[in-house]
Amino acid sequence: MLNVLIIGNGQCGNRVLDAINKEAFGKKSKFAKFYSKQKYKSNVETIAINTAINDLKELEFTKAKDRVHIPHLHGVGANRNVGKQVFEENKEHITRKVEDRGPFDVAFVITSSSGGTGSSFTPLLVKELKERYDFPVYSLVVLPFREEGTLYLQNTAFSLKEIRESGTDGIILADNQFLKDLGGNVQSAYDGINGMIAERMMFLLDSMDSEMMMVTDLGDFQTVMAGGAGLATIGYYRADKDLPVKTAIQNALAPSGLLFSTNVYEEASRAMVIIKGDNEYLSIDDISNEIEKLSANVGHVFKGIIVRKGEYPQVLVVSTMESASEIENLYNVAIDAIGQEREKKNRIENEKEVDKAFSKIDGLEPHY
């Protein structure tokens, strides 16, 4: 049994973590925690870290003892410099929380790329974990809606870079913008997106810790994540009716199944495909055909099959990317944004010059 650590940093990280904890109860009821048990296969420890106490209070499925408040006003106001400073000041406190619950076999750190707290804590925390322990640490990064403003884009550009350089074993991308555009089941945008991420994470954890034959394991996952540019995303499809497994695999790889805009067949570097369901749906031929199709375009493809009596086919795909055109687009926009922010700052400084001019007559009296 694996010992898994999942940390959610900042509001976005907290909420996604809470969604995973909720997903673990299986039932979608708000009161599930009162009568149900979390169905984690592994020994999972979750920690929500935030500077804003209200964000922590909002959580419903994460135990109180798993919520760590780092006091600093009510968040760091998207200012990553402040966020980094606060982390440095509280580093010991945070790492002790991890230490107390360890040892772990694998860790996931969830954050938005654009806020202040999560995006500045995550690279520093990953670096800290990598220095102290030797288990793999993966980062699950949520990209902002593009219209959220230049500050968020700027933060995204810098935080993504820093996370990559932090020593993380891989970045799994989820893009709010992309998931919103898909529409569909995304009603209350955040809850919908968080649910999608949670569903995939649960499946992933399940598949890494399964004792069944023909399954992938943590090692396979590590290999996949080590490929490409260190960026990955997850595709998923769950049939709600009698459906050929071939279609289910295709749907998991289609944009509607992915968390990030990519053409797997063109941009993927390595992939892992896990198929779950009743035996009657799991036609080995069909599966092999589809996997072959994928591996012809992509490099190595790991394949796992989990037999679940009476369940319709479900498919999870983890794929690392050789290239990510969407990230390039994002950085282009971000550079503009950085320019704009700098200009704005200069303008403010010029305004300060005006202040200086006014201040020259401080203490003088008019003479008539």
Binding site: K33, F34, K57, L59, E60, T62, K63, A64, R67
Partner: protein, 417 residues
């Protein structure tokens, strides 16, 4: 010694005064000194001195006198001139007759001196010359009035009347004249009605009976009462007054009248005769005065049996020492009151509610009665069956509830940040 001397002097003085006062009585009085013709007489009260014969011859001047008491001759005597003759008069008195002189031939007559001694002159009602002598005299008698006061009943009740009849009979030997009756007011009675009222003045012949008063007296008090006598003052034919006649004083027993009494009727009714334990039952007390007087100090104790509990009631009910009571200063004739209260049945069983009444019936009698409801059956309460069940039947659900509650609380705490 000095003192005794003074007293003696004083007594002496009084005796002297008395002697002077009685002198007129004791003294001799010449009541007549004149001539009386032969055949005539002189009457002194019921005595007549007849001058039967007068002798005028020089050597035998005198007169024959006959003394009569009424028509009875008591003595006769020839008296020469200057002779005296005395005879006893009435009780103590004495009459002395003296022939002073005689004269006349065709109409011989004698001069007489008549002296009355030892006699009180005020008792002298007749003293005059009677032409024709004692045969022509009228004598005065003593009327005796027997007054009889008669009651038609000797026992009556207070408030009832008795008829009083007053009759008089003259049992004396002379006609009673100037008879005036006096019938005093009677204490403890009031005059209710008068039928006959002849109080005089009147005359009553010898042996005559008269009804002088008939009236009704109403008794106002009880007891053995004696009526005051009727009295009469009267004279005889010659106007002689007599001491007043007095009637008998009849007695009568006046029994105390039955006082009007209050009679209270008390009923006590329960609103329901079968109730489940824990419920309340209302008892309604009705009290009515069917008697003829107001009841006083009306007190009702409401007896609440063990296993029941007084809950609330009308304003008339007050709780004294934990016991509900009703007190009414009075309850007038025909007055009726209805008072309700409720009790709660705490225990199963058969009960009745008792209301104990005591009052003064207006005739100073203390009356005690009681009104009891029919039996009230308190059966098993709505949820009593729970108590009869084995303990685990309700303990288990309670434990489950506690368990679930505790779990929810624990979970809530676990997730409450």
């Amino acid at each position: 010694m000095m003192k005794t001397g003074k007293n003696l002097l004083r007594i002496l003085g009084i005796v002297l005064l008395l002697a002077i006062a009685t002198e007129g009585v004791a003294a001799d009085s010449e009541i007549f000194n004149d001539t009386i013709e032969r055949g005539n007489g002189y009457q002194i009260n019921n005595y007549v001195i007849d001058v039967a014969d007068v002798f005028t011859e020089e050597d035998s001047k005198g007169a024959s006198i006959y003394i009569y008491r009424k028509n009875e001759e008591i003595d006769n005597k020839f008296l020469s001139v200057n002779d005296t003759y005395s005879f006893d008069f009435e009780d103590e008195g004495e009459v002395t007759v003296k022939i002073i002189k005689t004269a006349g031939s065709a109409l011989p007559r004698a001069q007489l001196s008549i002296v009355l001694s030892d006699y009180s002159l005020q008792n002298l009602h007749t003293n005059k010359v009677i032409n024709g002598g004692h045969d022509e005299a009228t004598f005065a008698g003593t009327p005796i009035l027997d007054i009889n006061k008669n009651l038609d009943s000797d026992t009556i009740k207070s408030g009832e009347t008795v008829k009083v009849t007053v009759k008089v009979q003259n049992t004396g030997d002379d006609k009673a004249t100037d008879v005036v009756f006096s019938d005093p007011m009677q204490e403890n009675f009031v005059l209710e009605e008068t039928f006959v009222d002849q109080m005089g003045p009147m005359s009553i012949e010898v042996d005559e009976t008269k009804t002088i008063a008939v009236y009704l007296l109403k008794a106002t008090e009880s007891g053995n009462l004696t009526l005051k006598p009727t009295t009469a003052t009267f004279s005889n034919t010659v106007g002689q007054d007599f001491s007043q006649a007095t009637s008998n004083t009849p007695s009568i027993t006046v029994e105390a009248a039955e006082k009007e009494k209050a009679v209270l009727n008390l009923t006590n009714q329960a609103s329901s005769l079968t109730i489940p334990r824990g419920d309340t039952v209302t008892s309604t007390i009705n009290i009515k005065n069917t008697g003829e007087a107001p009841a006083e100090t009306v007190n009702i104790n409401l007896d609440i049996p063990d296993g029941m509990e007084y809950v609330e009631g009308d304003n008339e009910i007050e709780i004294i020492d934990g016991a509900p009571q009703i007190y009414l200063e009075s309850l007038g004739e025909g007055q009726e009151k209805e008072i309700s209260f409720s009790v709660k049945a705490n225990e199963m069983g058969t009960y009745n509610l008792s209301a104990q009444l005591s009052y003064n019936n207006g005739a100073d009698e203390s009356i005690n009665t009681e009104a009891i409801t029919n039996n009230i059956h308190v059966k098993e309460g709505r949820f009593d069956f729970l108590l009869n069940l084995p303990i685990y039947v309700y303990v288990l659900p309670i434990l489950v509830i506690i368990g679930v509650g505790g779990w929810v609380f624990y979970k809530h705490r676990e997730y409450k940040f």
